[in-house]
Amino acid sequence: MVKRAALSRDELFAVLETVMDPEVPVLSVVDLGIIRDAESTDAGVVVTITPTYSGCPAMREIEQNIRTAFEEQGIGPVDVRTVYSPAWTTDWISASGREKLEAYGIAPPGPADQDTLITLRRRAEVLRCPYCKSLNTVEKSHFGSTACKSIWVCNACRQPFEHFKAI
């Protein structure tokens, strides 16, 4: 493996921008906010990531895809490390990431809930339909096709859509 020493943080992030989330393929791992750090050392590249959910089955694939992205550019070895603190929050999804989500048909998350009390009823949440932009939408299920999403339907255009839950 060719080792290219002393890549800048921007150069490393440019490579990471090409690694897409396997479940939401319009969103890079940088957009998603799971990259905590990236640096090049004498021993190679060290990328530090944090999982979205404890049991997210995509994490291993993401780690592998990060390694592959660098190796395809002749950069390595790559050490992908996982940290759990501070815990990932949807507030770390970038502004461009939110736009990409909506364009893809997934309503982006609102601000993360900081409420520490147990609230029996959820806060009334108003979501904009990513297709017709109507606000006349309703949640159908709190849990969706992946741990990070819930299922909604638009009463205006009758289109079901997914919502990236705020956590």
Partner: protein, 251 residues
């Protein structure tokens, strides 16, 4: 860092989530509606994910080279430290939801406290689990009210679940020497300190659901010491058979 008490404590945290997570996963393909099938398995995924992290940390604290998989698949029932409530068969949907509600409130309070653990790995795992548990609590609380304040049939079933499960709730709040040792070291939380808030949150939801709490009588216990119901062994035989039949298999 090796610490026998902290290892035991982490097993309790990990086993609670592994066992109830497995019970939830038994609903995969059997949910009453598609959305609920997905919801129960999503919650199972969160809990088994949390268990993976907790048992991995337990293995590191033990210092004998046991991985999270070794702890999950190669221990017998007598070595499991989960609370008895969590190993009971999944029952009907009302039973599953009510148990999950009881446990999720407990887990939320416990994990909130553990975000202040002196062990950075545990506080990080807890910070993530708090966010997940909050969704679990709300989802289950809504169902408890829907079923309790619902039809005669749904009310009778979920009240039956309250009556059957209540005697298993006491065990969640019993503190022993291990709990006290990890609490005084700032690593863990003494479960008895969670009891008042748990009871007030749970009573509030059960009131809304028009359900009644049975008069407190005998409380079952034993899970923390490896004294389990007959149900755990059957569950483990299914959960562990692949790993034990093909040790070291990967795919």
């Amino acid at each position: 860092m090796t610490s026998p008490a902290f290892f035991e404590y982490l097993l309790r945290l990990g086993d609670d989530r592994l066992v109830v997570g497995h019970r939830l996963s038994e609903w995969c393909g059997h949910g009453p509606i598609l959305e609920e099938d997905i919801a129960l398995t999503n919650i199972a995924l969160d809990l088994i994910g949390e268990a993976t992290l907790l048992l991995k940390l337990a293995g590191q604290v033990e210092g004998k080279g046991r991985s999270e998989d070794a702890l999950a698949y190669f221990r017998d029932g007598i070595d499991f430290r989960n609370a008895l409530m969590l190993e009971l068969p999944k029952g009907d949907f009302g039973f599953t939801i009510l148990r999950q509600f009881f446990f999720s409130v407990y887990s939320l309070l416990q994990m909130e406290a553990l975000t202040r653990s002196a062990n950075a790995d545990l506080s990080g795992i807890a910070a993530k689990a708090v966010k997940e548990s909050r969704y679990h609590v709300r989802h289950c609380a809504e169902w408890v009210v829907t079923l309790g304040d619902g039809t005669d049939e749904s009310r009778a079933r979920v009240q039956g679940a309250v009556d059957d499960l209540w005697r298993y709730t006491g065990e969640l709040f019993i503190a022993d020497d291990i709990d006290r040792e990890v609490a005084s070291a700032g690593l863990g939380v003494d479960p008895s300190t969670l009891s008042d808030r748990w009871h007030s949150e749970v009573s509030r939801v059960l009131d809304d659901a028009t359900l009644t709490i049975p008069k407190t009588g005998y409380m079952q216990r034993g899970g923390r010491d490896g004294k389990h119901t007959e149900h755990l062994g059957h569950m483990l035989s299914e959960m562990q058979i692949v790993a034990r039949s093909y040790p070291g298999a990967s795919w």
